[in-house]
């Protein structure tokens, strides 16, 4: 189905609307702060609307994953084509966008989080123009990764996020912002290089025959890379279960594991989270981490099914370690943001465990957990942000008795916390349930150990609640103001989603069910 506005596909719109906003902002004078904010809000708001349209128009039955025919809202234009010369075939890079059940939920998530991020950025006063310019660029990068089906395009969007993030953390962040920013940059850059090299190796190993001319064309098309028939003889990554394929899988995996972040590639996250300004923490935890697991599912799994199966235990084990390790580390923190950062590691471990199950429940659970965790951590970071705005403090010991002082805030924040704790009736539970269900089918003991993570999680979340919200209100906190309408506005959509998806997750699961089932079949079937 084609959805077009002014002859341009809806996916292009949703990706590049922020760029339009960015250019508009660049043209405005610095002083016009409110106009800048409003433009950012409008740009991301339009994205939310477009995401809504996509949600409504999305065909839930189509499979996607490796089948170009069943991708939706596809846009494919030749971007760079260099005709063949005697020594090498045609070079082809396409502007190739499309979504399937795997990506649609991520698009919705990205648009929502981006929009909320803008609202929560409202009180940023330092270099407003620069801030929103970078912010919108970042949003385009994120959105682009989720819709790109050409590896080259995917990579460009992937790396486009780096620099804005570096500045957003480095310029608007906390006291150790520089350290955090460079650490983030370095880690992801290393991953990016690994991905670049793998991408090139894939490019040269994959060639499809152009039906029109009969030429053999090297391509960055991700879908072509999934077809074993397209691998040229003697290519570096041709064949099945070769060492180079394992190496390539590993390289990609490390790249994505850094983003996820999976133990032991996680140490950038606590620093980045702690130092980043609230909206950026929200984006970081809400969307950026999901890029890692999304990448695994979009690239590692279908392109290297053999290697995926080979490494799957390893992956599941890392997932388990992340769950337990993240949870314990979270418990040991006395910085509110750091605690949430480590809880993210733990929760993303559940995603990894779920998708490593290689069955539909696990996969659905994992992807749903990506979405849910995005929403939940967004709430948590917004909660910290609210307190930080008022007190300039983040230490757990700095608070207490907030519940008396800010009842509305406490209510909303506690829902987020309970969702993080996996309380049934809230969305976190559903995805954790399915992840564990799937994982348990595949790995009994790993799962059992992982499930102990939820006990630890309960521990640190309740402990945090007790520290921050309960108890007597100390003297210094007695004049805190409860949430402003703007702040409520940024919480409410997320809270509504938390509850809705907790009670009735079907709308979300329906979107991805068929795609993910197909992905599971595809991978376990060795890519056939």
């Amino acid at each position: 189905m084609e959805l077009q506005i002014f002859g341009i596909g809806i996916l292009t719109w949703i990706v590049f609307i922020p760029i339009v906003g960015m250019i508009t902002i660049l043209l405005l004078p610095d002083k016009n702060r409110n106009a800048i904010r409003w433009i950012a809000a409008i740009a991301t708001g339009i994205q939310v609307i477009l995401a809504g349209v996509i949600f409504a128009a999305f065909d839930r039955t189509k499979l996607g994953i490796n089948d170009a025919e069943s991708f939706q809202f596809m846009e494919k234009f030749s971007w760079i084509t260099v005709e063949a010369v005697p020594w090498v075939g045609r070079i082809e890079i396409n502007y190739f966008l499309g979504i399937d059940g795997l990506s649609v939920l991520m698009i919705i998530l990205t648009s929502i989080i981006a929009f909320i991020g803008v609202i929560s950025s409202w009180n940023i006063d330092k270099m407003v123009k620069g801030y929103f310019t970078l912010y919108l660029l970042l949003v385009t990068g994120m959105m682009g990764v989720f819709v790109a089906l050409d590896f080259f395009l995917f990579f460009i969007f992937w790396e486009v996020m780096l620099l804005p993030m570096y500045f957003l953390i480095g310029l608007w962040g906390g006291p150790r912002r520089e350290y955090a920013a460079i650490k983030f940059f370095l880690y992801t850059f290393v991953g990016g290089i690994l991905m670049l090299l793998t991408m090139l190796a894939l490019y040269f190993s994959v060639a499809y025959t152009d039906p029109a001319t009969g030429q053999s064309v090297h391509t960055f098309n991700i879908l072509h890379m999934m077809n074993p028939a397209n691998y040229v003889d003697g290519g570096l990554l041709s064949g099945v279960d070769t060492t180079w394929r394992y190496v390539a899988w590993m390289a990609l995996f490390i790249n994505f594991a850094i983003k996820i972040p999976l133990f032991p590639f996680h140490t950038w996250l606590p620093d980045a989270h702690v130092e980043a300004p609230t909206p950026i923490s929200v984006i970081l935890a809400g969307v950026l981490l999901k890029l890692g697991t999304y990448g695994l599912l979009r690239i590692n799994f279908p392109i290297f099914p053999d290697a995926t199966v080979y490494f799957i235990y390893f992956m599941a084990a890392l997932g388990m370690i992340s769950i337990i390790y993240g949870a314990f580390c979270a418990m040991a923190q006395d910085d509110f943001k750091k605690l949430i950062a480590y809880s993210s590691i733990s929760h993303m471990g559940i995603v990894v465990l779920g998708i490593a199950a290689l069955n539909t429940q696990g996969m659905v659970g994992g992807v749903l957990q990506m979405f849910n965790h995005g929403i939940i951590t967004a709430v948590l970071f917004l909660s910290v942000g609210v307190l930080y705005d008022r007190t300039q403090k983040r230490g757990l010991y700095d608070f207490g008795g907030i519940a008396n002082q800010m009842p509305k805030y406490t209510g909303l924040a506690m829902i987020g916390m309970f969702a993080a704790l996996g309380l049934p009736g809230l969305n976190g539970f559903v995805s954790e349930l399915f992840s564990f269900l799937g994982a348990f089918e595949a790995y009994k003991w790993i799962t059992i150990i992982s499930v102990t993570g939820i006990i630890i999680t309960a521990g640190y979340i309740l402990w945090t609640i007790q520290r921050v919200f309960l108890g007597e209100t100390p003297e210094k906190l007695t004049n805190l103001k409860d949430l402003t309408p703007r702040e409520i506005l940024m919480f409410v959509p997320l809270i509504v989603l938390i509850i809705l998806l907790g009670i009735y997750p079907s709308p979300a699961i329906e979107l991805m069910n068929s795609s993910l089932s197909h992905l599971v079949e595809f991978v376990t079937g060795g890519g056939l």
Binding site: I182, C329, F429, V451, L462, E510
Partner: protein, 678 residues
């Protein structure tokens, strides 16, 4: 009707919760009438449902199901199941809840978060009703956790007190430990049978399917799910949260102990009873017995009125679990119902006393005296007659004195254990059963006597005490009435002939024959044969317990202190609750603290350290020599890339600035390269 009515029953408390949360503060009287009113409607509807169900459709199990989600090709449904068990339980829950609502209107008057309190009560009731009504173990788990969270909210209602929030945390986390097992059990069931509904699971097992093809896993699944009950019903070894939960308002304790939270565990075991293997049941029975004994021994020495009641609850729950374990299904469940009434009554009575004590102490401006310590009471009988008399009835009931409901159910349980031991041995179970019966009678009368009889410890306090308002005493009277035998069976000495026994029958086991416990017929035969023995024994033992208590505390014939001294370490252990909290603290709390600190250290030092290379070393060096720029990114450049940087430093040393040295290098490398390519 069997779909709409339960749904309304289920959702009314939720509606009350939502309304109270959003509008409670704005309503007149902070909306207590709204919450109570809605709960009363729920109660009435439940009674209607019970009568209809038991009266007209007694043998049917009514279920309805709808698809919740479809994952892959498996669809997961949610639904409602009404059988007699559920119908009876509905009434118990709604009844206790309604009375607690009513009582709270008096007890909680003037509380800072009055409307919030009622909202949470609604949520609590909703969650419990969900457990009761569901046909599905997953949905049960969902409500299970909701019960956990609402109890968390209620126990921590006075969260300004650190002890209250600690208790709330403890309750939730300890429960989580149990739920962990339950969760794994659920996973096993779903993986094996692709369904969450009890019906489908039982059918699959009945058809000979076993989890992972092994009988051991079936037993394991049963025990794992029972773990959930261990947590919620405060069974050994997870019973530690319950006494602490007394930090919540007393009506909440009544609700938790009587009808909602702790009952859920027993209800769960009853629900999954058909799939439990004989081995699993034996484990359950022993867990119950141990719990009953431990709690009873602790209760003897406690002085906090609510603590005594708390331990008695644990003990009674152990009874119920033990009953289910030995196969005395109906008796166990019946004890749940009868216990609900008298235990709710006991707590509300205690609440009434505490309320009065508080009022009196408040008048005296005495804030140091503990209003809940029975050593500060005594002689309240005259001041609070209604409370006293109802309390007496409850005490008689819990002690298993004939003509009370407690006698009926406890007698059947003891008969059941006795029968079980005649069939399989395991004499320990009936032995514990009888010992606990005696202990129960003893400590309950001790409580009664110390609180209401004798001379007041302090005249001043006693003078200030007065009977509680009607809104509090009426629930007590209703519950007292319900603690009498005729509600359950018209034969005061045999429950088996009552409507209850016909309504609630032990379901058929679905597990493979070799793993099954004794069939119902066989078991029932055994029970009949030992019934009179059990009855006589239980009456005697209860009487002995009562007599002992009266002798020690009323007549002071025997000195309590002497007894304590003579018991020695037993007394000490009992007073200190057998050191469970201390041991857990050391093993789990400190243990996990150690682990988490270690991991944090590991994370910040090793993992990050590897990344930062010799960053730490460099930093230490920097602070010593003080010449390295303390600037952070420089630190990073000097750190993360310290090796790189050092190499860079070396390389820039080569860059001496002397052109001849450069040329030397050039020619040298020329020679080296030449040697290399040869």
């Amino acid at each position: 009707m069997f779909i709409e009515l339960p749904l309304i029953i289920l959702l009314l408390p939720l509606l009350a919760f939502v309304l109270m949360i959003f509008f409670g503060n704005k309503l007149p009287r902070q909306g207590d009438w709204l919450a109570t009113g809605m709960m009363t409607i729920t109660l009435l509807l439940s009674i209607v449902l019970l009568i209809t169900k038991v009266g007209f459709y007694s043998s049917e199990t009514i279920t309805s199901n709808f698809d919740w989600v479809v994952v892959g090709s498996k669809s997961i449904g949610f639904g409602i199941m009404i059988d007699n068990l559920a119908a009876i339980m509905l009434v118990v829950v709604t009844l206790v809840s309604t009375l607690v609502h009513l009582f709270s209107m008096g007890y909680m008057k003037g509380d800072v978060r009055y409307s919030r309190y009622f909202a949470y009560l609604g949520l609590f009731s909703f969650s419990m009703l969900g457990i009761v009504l569901t046909n599905n173990i997953l949905l049960m788990y969902v409500f299970w956790e909701l019960v956990g969270i609402s109890s968390y909210l209620l126990i921590g209602h006075w969260y300004e007190k650190k002890s209250a929030s600690n208790a709330a945390n403890k309750a939730f986390i300890v429960n989580r430990v149990g739920d962990f097992g339950m969760f794994i059990g659920i996973l096993i069931l779903f993986i094996s049978f692709s369904s969450f509904t009890f019906e489908a699971i039982f059918e699959s097992i009945n058809a000979g399917q076993l989890p992972f093809g092994s009988e051991g896993w079936l037993t394991a699944a049963g025990i794992l799910i029972f773990c959930g009950a261990v947590g919620k019903s405060a069974q050994f070894p997870l019973h530690v949260w319950l006494p602490d939960a007394m930090e919540g308002p007393t009506p909440v304790s009544a609700l938790i102990h009587a009808a909602t939270m702790v009952a859920a565990g027993v209800y769960l075991v009853a629900r999954i009873f058909p799939m439990l293997t004989a081995d699993a049941l034996l484990v359950i029975a022993y867990i119950g017995a141990i719990t009953a004994l431990i709690a009873a021994t602790i209760a003897i020495t406690q002085f906090d009125i609510k603590k005594v009641l708390a331990y008695s609850t644990i003990s009674q729950l152990g009874y119920m679990i033990m009953a289910l374990g030995v196969g005395a299904y109906t008796a166990g469940f019946m004890h749940l119902v009868t216990h609900a009434a008298f235990k709710a009554g006991l707590f509300l009575g205690a609440g009434s006393v505490i309320f009065a004590m508080h009022a009196s102490l408040h008048k005296l401006h005495d804030h140091s005296t503990d209003a809940q310590d029975i050593r500060n009471m005594g002689g309240l009988k005259s001041k609070m007659p209604i409370t006293y008399w109802t309390f007496l009835i409850f005490t008689l009931a819990i002690s298993g004195i004939p003509l009370t409901s407690g006698f009926l159910s406890k007698d059947e349980i003891l008969a059941g254990t006795l029968a079980f031991s005649t069939l399989y041995g395991h004499w320990l179970l009936p032995l514990i059963g009888f010992v606990v019966a005696g202990l129960t009678a003893f400590y309950m009368f001790r409580l009664l006597i110390l609180t209401f009889h004798g001379k007041p410890v302090s005249e001043k306090i006693q003078n200030g005490v007065s009977e509680s308002p009607k809104v509090m005493t009426i629930p007590l009277m209703i519950l007292a009435a319900l603690s009498l035998f005729f509600f359950y069976s018209f034969n005061p000495f045999g429950a088996a002939s009552g409507w209850f026994y016909t309504a609630v029958e032990r379901p058929l086991s679905v597990v493979p024959e070799l793993l099954q416990p004794a069939t119902y017929a066989l078991f029932y035969e055994a029970v009949s044969s030992v019934h009179s023995t059990a009855m006589i024994l239980s009456i005697l033992i209860a009487a002995a317990g009562v007599l002992m208590a009266v002798a020690v505390y009323q007549w002071k014939k025997i000195s309590a202190d002497d007894l304590a001294k003579r018991a020695g370490f037993l007394y000490k252990g009992s007073v200190n609750k057998w050191y469970f909290d201390e041991v857990y603290n050391i093993v789990f709390v400190s243990g996990s603290h150690v682990v988490m600190r270690a991991l944090r250290w590991f994370d910040e030092t090793i993992i990050d350290g590897i990344v930062n290379g010799a960053a730490t070393v460099t930093k230490v060096f920097a602070s010593v020599s003080g010449w390295i720029d303390t600037n952070i990114v420089d630190g990073l450049v000097n750190g993360t890339a310290s090796t790189a940087n050092r190499a860079g430093g070396l390389l820039s040393h080569i860059q001496t600035g002397k052109v001849q040295t450069y040329l030397l290098f050039v020619l040298f490398s020329f020679l080296v390269l030449f040697v290399l390519i040869l």
